[in-house]
Amino acid sequence: MKLTVLSGKGGTGKTTVAVNMALSLPNIQLLDADVEEPNCQYFLKPEFNQSEEIYRKIPEIDQTKCTACRKCVDFCEYNALAMMLDEVLVFPEICHSCGGCEKICPENAITEIDRALGVLKHSASEHDIDFWQGELNIGEESSVPVIEALKEKMDFKKDIIIDAQPGTTCPTIEAVADSDYGILVTEPTPFGLSDLKIASQLMDELKIPYGVIINRAEEESDHIIENYCEKNNIDILLKIPFKREFAYLYSDGIPFVIDYPEWQEKFKTVFAEIRGVLDEKNYSN
């Protein structure tokens, strides 16, 4: 089973859910796909024993061959190439590595070279979790190729939990695409609700089944989320209460299932419920 933990709004508790759930279950592979700000590491404290650089291709112009015909400059949809007097300039940060300029250059003046974009890191020993983390290099704009490379590490002999980036744009979609199920983490505030709506629309559009975990839950305010979920027939999988101790443990990088082991059972139940929902779905298909 492949689960992705996501949210519209940032800081709702995706990493908290992903890590604590991973620690509650056997035979788990955890992928940190929030490559702009990968944070699972502060809770798992892994000793990384393997790392791989991720490269992408950017064009290099051979000025001796270039005739300044401008074809590449006109072709590039991202304005990553510009004409400066008789020379073509490359702006690597905004290049999407589509390879088009190299293909269309009539003089074969363009070759593609590697540019480091990010890094994948692996640790196997920590808490028996097979942990992979993607990390985007500072100053780079596009997370998607790093997430793609990370997903190539998926081991389907295990249950996979993916911690996604907040939002509903390309990096989040790349993380959640082809998951069996999405866990949408939210909080009982108007912000949480507004962003949950956006995230659930995305899941509907991607046709991936999903449920909701309410983090920082408080009896007097949970109705903000509960009403919406009830109206739209969305399962609420779990509520994690608003507790100063949980906030403190979080701040110190301690997964709360370690100090409150009874929560492992709750995560196991959630996991079993999700499996049940998916089995039923497969059966009815």
């Binding site: 940032g10 088009g100 907040p166 956006i198």
Partner: protein, 288 residues
């Protein structure tokens, strides 16, 4: 006129809450919500929308099936795996609109079409004009929409001769964040004393350094973990980022948020309101 973008690295540290409270204190400014992925500022400021514009910047490859001969070249040349190897249909979520397939198609069956990226709103709040947007679900190119929101806010400010443009940014360090800080005078970091908050701050601060933009910082909920707050303070000092204030962890903030109220307006006497007023005063001396 000064342009300030509020960012954090990590999400949920309190950017929008702080921006809306600062808007009340600044009284007269232009606001921009550049978190087009998950915009929230409107929930606290109740803007009245005066004008809505459709923003198109996304291009997608579109196939004319009557011309397609299923040769599969599009699938071979696409770097984004956007063309199905079986049906040769184009996946709009994966297509980045580069145009390589269009160029290489021997049958002229493909073309690039401009798609809707989202809507941009020209609105008014009780503190001044506000520019905000809604990104179409699943749309690519949020960076361009962010740039458009920022530029519109700046133009508005110039036209109305305002002193301040306050921009609410998005979490992360990638494309939307970079688009929201382009050309601004100052960045304000809102961080929190957690291991992840601190490390995310360091990553986003490196990005800002790379672009050479002066920065100020606020530590929100600083008393949740005073040891980490102390570490953050030391880091800020080393990096010569002025700490303009620390905000206490308070249930008043959460309550105000739930009622869509501004703490500095409704709970003037609260300690936390004073903390935000002090922050605003320090920001003011930095933008004079």
């Amino acid at each position: 006129m000064k342009k300030i973008t509020v960012i954090s690295g990590k999400g949920g540290t309190g950017k929008t809450t702080l921006v809306s409270n600062l808007a009340y204190l600044a009284e007269d400014l232009v606001l921009a919500d550049c978190d087009v992925d998950a915009p929230n500022l409107h929930l606290l400021l109740n803007p009245e929308v005066e004008e809505t514009n459709i923003f198109k910047s996304n291009k997608l490859a579109v196939k004319d099936n009557s011309k397609c001969v299923d040769c599969g070249i599009c699938n071979q040349v696409c770097r984004f795996n956007a063309v199905s190897p079986i049906s040769y249909e184009i996946d709009p979520y994966k297509c980045e609109g580069c145009g390589v397939c269009v160029e290489m198609c021997p049958e002229d069956a493909l073309s690039l079409e401009l798609m809707e990226t989202g809507e941009i709103y020209n609105s008014t709040t009780r503190f001044g004009p506000m520019i905000h947007a809604n990104l179409k679900i699943g749309s690519d190119n949020s960076g361009k929409l962010v740039s458009e929101v920022r530029e519109k806010a700046v133009k508005k400010g110039e036209k109305l001769n305002k002193d301040l443009i306050l921009i609410d940014g998005s979490p992360g360090i990638g494309c939307p964040v970079i688009s929201s800080i382009t050309g601004v005078d100052l960045v304000l970091f809102v961080t929190e004393p957690s291991k992840s908050g601190f490390s995310d701050l360091k990553r986003v601060a490196q990005v800002i350094k790379h672009f050479n933009i002066p920065a100020l910082a606020v530590i929100n909920k600083y008393d949740i973990n005073k040891a980490i707050s102390q570490e953050i303070e030391e880091y800020l000092e080393e990096e010569k980022i002025e700490l303009v204030g620390k905000i206490s962890f308070s249930s008043i903030v959460v309550d105000s948020l739930r009622n869509a109220e501004l703490v500095v307006e409704q709970k003037k006497e609260a300690k936390i309101s004073q903390e935000i007023v002090d922050i605003w005063n320090k920001i003011k001396t930095n933008i004079k």
